[in-house]
Amino acid sequence: MRGLSAFWVDFFEKFGIMFIGLAAFAAVVGLILFLADRAPKKGRDFLQLAAFVGPALVLLAIGLVYPAIRTTTLAFFSRQTANGSDFVAFDNFVWMFTQPDILITLGNTLIWVALVPTLSTIFGLAYAVFIDKSKGEKLLKSLVFMPMAISFVGAGIIWRFMYEYREVGFSEQIGLLNQVLVWLGQSPQQFLVNSPFNTFFLIVVMVWIQTGFAMVLLSAAIKGVPVEIIEASRLDGANAWQQFWNVTVPGIRGTLVVVVTTISIATLKVFDIVRAMTGGNFDTSVIANEMYTQAFNRGETGYGSALAVVLFLMVMPIVIYNVRVMRKQKEIR
């Protein structure tokens, strides 16, 4: 009973903070817009403009533009101590490409970005084709799309239980996958510990999440392929596979590119899954996780910044390509 009342004290205190925060925000924005409304004739245009774009621009300049520049600079300096830090030129990058641990991290990131988009797109496309115009399409879509709604940490816990390992003879298996192995007469595996395959078992989690995303986009694209063309190819004697390969796939090429690039971007930045499932141990770390470990657990701001810069350089070309394809698609429509 006592625990409960402590909970309510805590509850009202925090919601109090929230309402003060919301009220303060509303007051500031309201005041800015009110002043813009009542601005003197002289310079009114500029004041009104400043009122509308100013807040966003200031926040972006302080919180994104300046930090991005600063991180790039920090990547060329040693770790920050009380005595400041030294300019080390490319030492942080040399460290990255000579440390065996970090090389594994970089390699893992490449494995992730090669496998996750490919597998998610294949599963998503196959599923979208299978359920197209079938009975209960909506429900079948919901089931596979659902993992998109939940957090990566939640997904990590769900799969920790799937992979859980118990020593033989010590107790029954509580993880479904190991139980299946036992049923098949095999010995159970420590899926998340045994390198290098543990990385693949982490990748399964990301594929599980991203397949739903691929499926929803591709399903919409498939419905956009004109029925007349499919009909014509059928009259020409094309079988289901030929129809799919020669009519459907060319018809959805743009969407396929968007799906693959979008999932690639998400995969390069993956952090939570690795953090929650292995913490980056057992040779499973990826760049985003290593960046956090170096910068915030070990205080190695130089190494952390250098890793962030590498991540930026890997993501940038894909984002640019992704945006260009998306815009082209929009023009066609």
Partner: protein, 317 residues
Amino acid sequence: MSTDAATAAENALDAPLGQKHEAATREPQKMRKVKQTLTSPWATFAAILIATLWTIPTFGLLVSSIRTPTEIRSNGWWNIFVSPSFTLQNYIDVLTVQGTSSANLGSYFVNSLVIAIPAALFPIILATMAAYAFAWIKFRGSGALFVLIFALQIVPLQMALIPLLQIFSEILGISGTFPAVWIAHTIFGLPLCIFLLHNFISEIPGEVIEAARVDGANHTQIFFRIVIPLSLPALASIGIFQFLWVWNDLLVALVFSGGTADVAPLTQRLAELVGNFGRNTERLPAAAFISLIVPLIVFFSLQRYFVRGLLAGSTKG
């Protein structure tokens, strides 16, 4: 007039990703014919197989969460079909029992709400204002500035974390408080929100805005009387996306919340609990479901807005 404009603009919001079902408008007879040729029993079988495989992991966790702690530890969740059992004790334990070694999720749940509500509202409001200015106020350099903001989406969160934390802790002294997390999420959400809302607000018919101007309305009045009411569907989609993004986020929370029960959200506590899997085995299923319940409710009740917002915002982070 205004509802027409809203529908048109809403369609425009859907267009870039094409998730509207265009097939619905076609002749039903042709549809039926094609349908027969495309559905085969094998395809249906494969679809059901995939759907089952995709659902089992979540279903298993849900089943685990209603078994007794001893059962969770001693055998797998599928045994519930042999020896049925049901208890809500795990949920009560992780939510209400307080103390340093308990899960204490009640507090963290409150934190998640207190973080996510303002962190969804702030960027949406600021972005709507900026998007209106970029779409309907003519000024020099507006195009270049907009492209710059758009380009900021390229910058991964990781690039901003270290310097922003230094600003929060050394200059503002707010590191580890709710405002720090709100401001961080607001900043990271802005580029995408501005971009998406600009797409939407620029589709509002020029005559509507022009008519208001002729009647003597200034920007503030146009903003409140025309732009906001017409943008409500877009604001809902993007707001839901931003809310869930914040709710599900771990990285920003780890860096800016300080990691205690005073501020840190559910995801942060879950990551801690799963880090000591052996000790927390019986708590984790219920704990995970408490964090999943909000996204799942949103997902099943607001699916249309949810899917649209999620697809539009999929490159964020």
